[in-house]
Every structure is written in structure tokens, then in C-alpha cells.
């Protein structure tokens, strides 16, 4: 096992990684920007190094600065967390060149799975359903129209390099398709410096379901069951849960096995999440693979009792997984609410500022992952997440009930947060009965 690593991230995930390190007897070196200089979680690191000013490009996104910090701190490995450099294959390459272990997959896996068209092809090879669509990037309008007519409207145009909704268009006939391609290409070009587009059948009212997977260098690949992340707003997940409440046992097993096949096909190592769309008939279609730990990983930790960050560290240090698939049991129901500093009255725009009152909820089955505290400041420079509130109970009704109790207890003043929005969703009869799709939150809250 490593004896000393660096965490190339900030906030709650940095603290989460520090905790895992300390329980494994690993020293954790934190890096921070000047904007985070007075963050309390930095005190828990064994060393903290200022790497630059607030702007991410000059701190958390700066590969030279992070590598320099790793060198002066004399660490064996770097954990990238999520966001920032976590899915930057070049960063993983630089780490390798510098003789520093990257706690994540190889640069090749990242590159392969980061390309949506290549990932689709890989899923097909792994005999996993993909959404019917173009086999690769579409050449021109004529080809797009031909494919759209073959698979049937509505279809969705997506950026090959994309994510977060940029470069995406849903179209219902030849005319709107023709009109949409140019704009989508320009958007993709601007956002990802890659204008390649592909086309898929549009799945209406889908759920978002994903499978947590861990693979080691010896070729062991295990799944840790699924998470349902259907509650999202503008492609930002807001509430996640496990198990997926609408999935029958047999289908669930198929889903998890499909995820394993994808990861095996990619010769993948470390933690990954295989994302699927679930249609109204509970047919699942491969979407993409996230090659990092996800924000919502605690949901899986609660229902499986497994510490995913520790697995990442163990695998990166060369350990093999000493678990068999049947040792991983799924118990009860876990739900996570993301508590962001956002003002729902202002279209969920970030609401940074100083927290003058911060009282965490507690009790049986309640976990709060947060780096914030009373007197701390929510920085305007980074994402607005204040805390992840996770509950774990025997049944979904109990979990919803406890989550509502915990949300009501959580006091964060004076900034606005997503607590009322989460409360509204959890109190909705359609959420209780799981009659929801990925458009639910936008229909409810706008």
C-alpha cells in the first residue's frame, strides 16, 4: 500500500479521500488554491500546499502545479477525486511519466471510454444494448436523415466528445433535423474542440440508472449494484438512490452483468460507473462509462458496506480484490440529496457566502459528507455543493421518511440551498411511487 499520496482536488471529496487514507494508514497531502486557504478540512491533511490563485486553471486544473506539489511533497500517488483533472487522460500520462501512480484507470482506458462513439462500439462488442443510431460520427445531413428514417423519429443529436447537454438536440422530422445539425456541431466545436456528432433514437421519459464497478490489475471485475439517478435538473443529478426502485430482480442482474462485460471489454482497472438509460419497459441501453469515482458513490457504500475510495487506493497500489461477487450484499435502501448553495428562486444560480449557522442532521442511518462548517465560506469560484446528505434504511418508505426528517433538521444560514427543492421532490407522490423520469424535476421546479 502507498504510504503517502496527494489529493488533486478540494472540498468534500478531498476530505472523503483524507478519511480513507487515514483509516488505511496513508499520509494525505492536500493542495489548495488561495480561495480555499482557510478551509477547515485542510487541517486534517498531513500536509497542505498552496498551488495557486482561486482560478481553477491556475490551481486545481494546472497539471504542472499539481505535479510540482506532488514532487516537493514526495508522494507515491495522486488521487484526482471527481471533476477537475479526474478524467483528463493527459494528466494521467504526466503522472506516469513522473513515476507517480495515478489513482484511477490508465490514460488509454480514459481516452477510449471518453470517446462516446468508441465507447458505443465497445459496448456492442460486449453484447450490451446500445440505443439504435449512427454507427459512428455522421458525415453530413444526408446520412443523418437516412439514419433517422431507418431508426425512426424522434432522434437525438449528440456531440461525440460531449457531456452536460452541450451539442444535444432532439428532433422529430427531417426538417428540424436539417436545421439542428449545424447548431449542434458549432456548440460541440466550441465546447469540446471537436465537432463530431452522432445520432440516436430518442428514448422518451427514461430513467437514469448506473452500475458501480471496480476492477483490479489481475482482471477481477466486480459490480456493487446500481444507482438510480433519475432525479436531475438540466443534467445535474440532485437525488440518487439504490436500488433502482422499478427494476425487477432478474433485469437488475442483467444490468449489472452488462456493466461488467463493458468494463472487462475495456480491460479497465480501478473504479468506474457504467451509465444506462432505462426506458418505460425497463429495457436498458448503454450510455457511457465514467472513469472516476462519482459524487454519488456514498449511496453504494451505504447499501453494500464497502468503502469505494479504499478500493481505489488498494487497487492503484497493486492489491487484488479479495472479495467475490457473492460477498457483496445489497442491504436496504440508500438515498442521497445534494445540498448545494443555490437559490431556487433565482433559477438555482449559485449562492455563495459565509455560513453563519450550520447544524448537521443526525440520528440512525444518517450520513453527512461535508467539508463545510459554521463560519466557513462557500466560495464563488467552485461548484456550489455544501454537503451530501445520505440516509440508509431498511425500506424505501423509511429512507424517504428519514431523509425528510434530516432535511428538516439541516440548518444552513443565511445562504439559500437546495434543501427546500429536495424536500419538495421527496414529498411528491410521484417520487414516492417512483413514477418519474429524467424530466420530472424540470416539470416540477422549472
Amino acid at each position: 500500500m502507498f504510504s503517502r499520496i496527494l489529493i488533486a482536488n478540494r472540498g468534500e471529496i478531498a476530505l472523503r479521500i483524507i478519511r480513507a487514507c487515514h483509516e488505511l494508514g496513508i499520509e494525505a497531502v492536500a493542495v489548495y488554491s488561495q480561495a480555499d486557504a482557510d478551509a477547515e478540512y485542510l487541517r486534517l491533511a498531513d500536509e497542505a500546499i498552496c498551488i495557486g490563485p482561486a482560478r481553477p486553471a491556475e490551481s486545481y486544473l494546472s497539471i504542472p502545479r499539481i505535479i510540482s506539489a506532488a514532487e516537493i511533497a514526495d508522494v507515491e500517488a495522486i488521487h484526482p477525486g471527481y471533476g477537475f483533472l479526474a478524467e483528463n487522460a493527459h494528466f494521467a500520462e504526466v503522472c506516469a511519466e513522473c513515476g507517480i501512480a495515478f489513482i484511477g484507470p490508465t490514460p488509454e482506458s480514459m481516452q477510449l471510454l471518453g470517446d462516446k462513439i468508441a465507447a458505443r462500439e465497445l459496448a456492442e462488442r460486449a453484447r450490451v444494448f446500445i440505443i439504435p443510431g449512427s454507427e459512428g460520427a455522421i458525415e453530413d445531413e444526408a446520412e443523418a436523415i437516412k439514419i433517422a428514417n431507418k431508426i425512426g423519429y424522434p432522434v437525438i443529436i449528440k456531440a461525440a466528445a460531449g457531456g452536460g447537454g452541450r451539442g444535444m438536440r432532439v428532433v422529430h422530422n427531417d426538417i428540424t433535423l436539417r436545421a439542428a445539425i449545424g447548431g449542434a456541431r458549432a456548440e460541440a466545436e466550441a465546447a469540446f474542440k471537436n465537432g463530431a456528432l452522432y445520432l440516436e433514437k430518442f428514448i422518451s421519459e427514461p430513467r437514469h440508472v448506473e452500475v458501480q464497478v471496480i476492477a483490479d490489475k489481475a482482471g477481477n471485475v466486480l459490480h456493487f449494484y446500481e444507482r438510480d439517478c433519475t432525479i436531475q435538473r438540466r443534467h445535474q443529478k440532485l437525488i440518487e438512490e439504490s436500488p433502482c426502485p422499478v427494476l425487477e430482480e432478474k433485469r437488475r442482474e442483467e444490468l449489472c452483468k452488462a456493466a461488467l462485460r463493458v468494463v472487462k471489454e475495456a480491460n479497465y482497472v480501478n473504479a468506474a460507473t457504467v451509465e444506462f438509460l432505462l426506458d418505460k419497459e425497463n429495457r436498458f441501453y448503454f450510455m457511457e462509462v465514467n472513469t472516476r469515482i462519482q459524487v454519488e458513490h456514498p449511496v453504494t457504500e451505504m447499501v453494500t458496506g464497502q468503502d469505494l475510495i479504499k478500493w481505489q487506493l488498494k487497487i492503484a497500489s497493486g492489491q487484488t480484490i479479495d472479495l467475490r461477487q457473492k460477498d457483496i450484499k445489497h442491504t436496504g435502501v440508500a438515498i442521497e440529496c445534494r445540498i448545494n448553495a443555490e437559490d431556487p428562486a433565482k433559477d438555482f444560480s449559485p449562492c455563495p457566502g459565509r455560513i453563519t449557522k450550520f447544524i448537521l442532521p443526525g440520528g440512525i442511518g444518517v450520513r453527512v459528507d461535508t467539508h463545510q462548517c459554521q463560519g466557513c465560506t462557500v466560495s464563488p469560484y467552485y461548484d456550489s455543493m455544501i454537503a451530501k446528505l445520505i440516509v440508509h434504511k431498511k425500506t424505501r418508505d423509511q429512507a424517504i421518511n428519514t431523509m425528510k426528517r434530516a432535511l428538516a433538521e439541516f440548518r444552513i444560514e443565511p445562504i439559500k440551498t437546495t434543501i427546500p427543492a429536495c424536500m419538495e421532490i421527496l414529498s411528491h407522490s410521484d417520487y414516492a411511487s417512483s413514477r418519474i423520469d429524467t424530466g420530472f424535476v424540470e416539470r416540477l421546479l422549472g
Binding site: Q34, A37, D38, I49, C50, R65, S68, E71, I72, G375
Partner: protein
């Protein structure tokens, strides 16, 4: 000396916490030569009358404090009007281009904005750090081989 400053910094931090926790706007402790004066913004008051001349604030990059910390000691009073050369990157500090060479600068060296004052090595690259100011080096705060973080104070310069 450094431990003394450490202690003082610790003390100032505690006082700042005290101020924040209790919503104080001003706190002054004088004890012989030593004096600590801390002020936070008045929530409403239009003007603050300051009777004593106030030295340049001491900036502690690793643990910045929201408030302006004004910690005066006889030694620090000399800092009034000094310019500072800080590390623009994270890396390893070298005072000279090689172990056998003379340091780029030392106390008493005159520098102009383009004078190379040291090297900070980052990712095997030797980055020459320039003074960016004119004057005379009065203090060297790092030693060769020492790790420096972003914003860390390297030299103090007395301007011309």
C-alpha cells in the same frame, strides 16, 4: 525568531477567531513595545477614525484571514515600505544556478525588475524568478532545496 512569530501568529489567529465569533469590530492589545490592533469592517458605521499611523499589513499566504491583521513589533516595523518577492509557482527553491555557483542575489544585492533572484524548480524545469521590482535585497527567506508553495515570500526588497 521564527518560533516567536509562529507563537504570535497563533495568538493573532486566536484573537481573530474571538473577534469573528463575537462580532467585534476592533480589538487592540498593547503591552510595552508590542501592540496588536485588529479591525473588522463596521457593519454600518460610515467612517472609522484611525488616530495612529498604521504599518503595512503582514500577509500570511498559508492562512489568510478575512480581516486585515495588523501585528506590530519593533522588528516588523522595519518592514514598512518593503517590497516582497513571492513565489509565482509551487516547487523547489534554489538560490543559485548550480551548487558550485554563487547565489543569484544576497542581502545587499541591488536588483532591477529583470534581475533573476532565484530558481524555482517545478517538474524538472528550472524557472528563473525575476525580481519584478527595483531596490536592495534586505532579507532572504528561503534556503536552497526548500519546498516553496504558491505565494510564499522569498525575498524582501527595500525600494530605491
Amino acid at each position: 525568531m521564527s518560533e516567536n512569530k509562529e507563537t504570535k501568529l497563533q495568538r493573532v489567529k486566536e484573537l481573530v477567531e474571538l473577534m469573528k465569533a463575537n462580532d467585534l469590530v476592533e480589538l487592540e492589545i498593547a503591552d510595552g513595545d508590542s501592540k496588536i490592533l485588529l479591525k473588522r469592517p463596521q457593519p454600518v458605521g460610515p467612517t472609522i477614525t484611525q488616530l495612529s499611523p498604521v504599518p503595512a499589513p503582514v500577509i500570511t499566504p498559508a492562512v489568510p484571514v478575512e480581516q486585515t491583521v495588523q501585528a506590530q513589533t519593533p522588528a516588523e516595523q522595519q518592514d514598512v515600505g518593503l517590497a516582497e518577492i513571492k513565489s509565482p509557482i509551487v516547487g523547489t527553491f534554489y538560490s543559485a544556478s548550480s551548487p558550485d555557483s554563487q547565489p543569484y542575489v544576497d542581502i545587499g544585492t541591488r536588483v532591477s525588475p529583470d534581475t533573476v533572484v532565484c530558481i524555482v524548480e517545478a517538474m524538472k524545469v528550472m524557472n528563473e524568478i525575476k525580481a519584478e521590482t527595483s531596490g536592495t535585497i534586505v532579507e532572504v527567506l528561503c534556503e536552497t532545496g526548500e519546498a516553496v508553495e504558491y505565494g510564499q515570500l522569498l525575498f524582501k526588497v527595500k525600494p530605491d
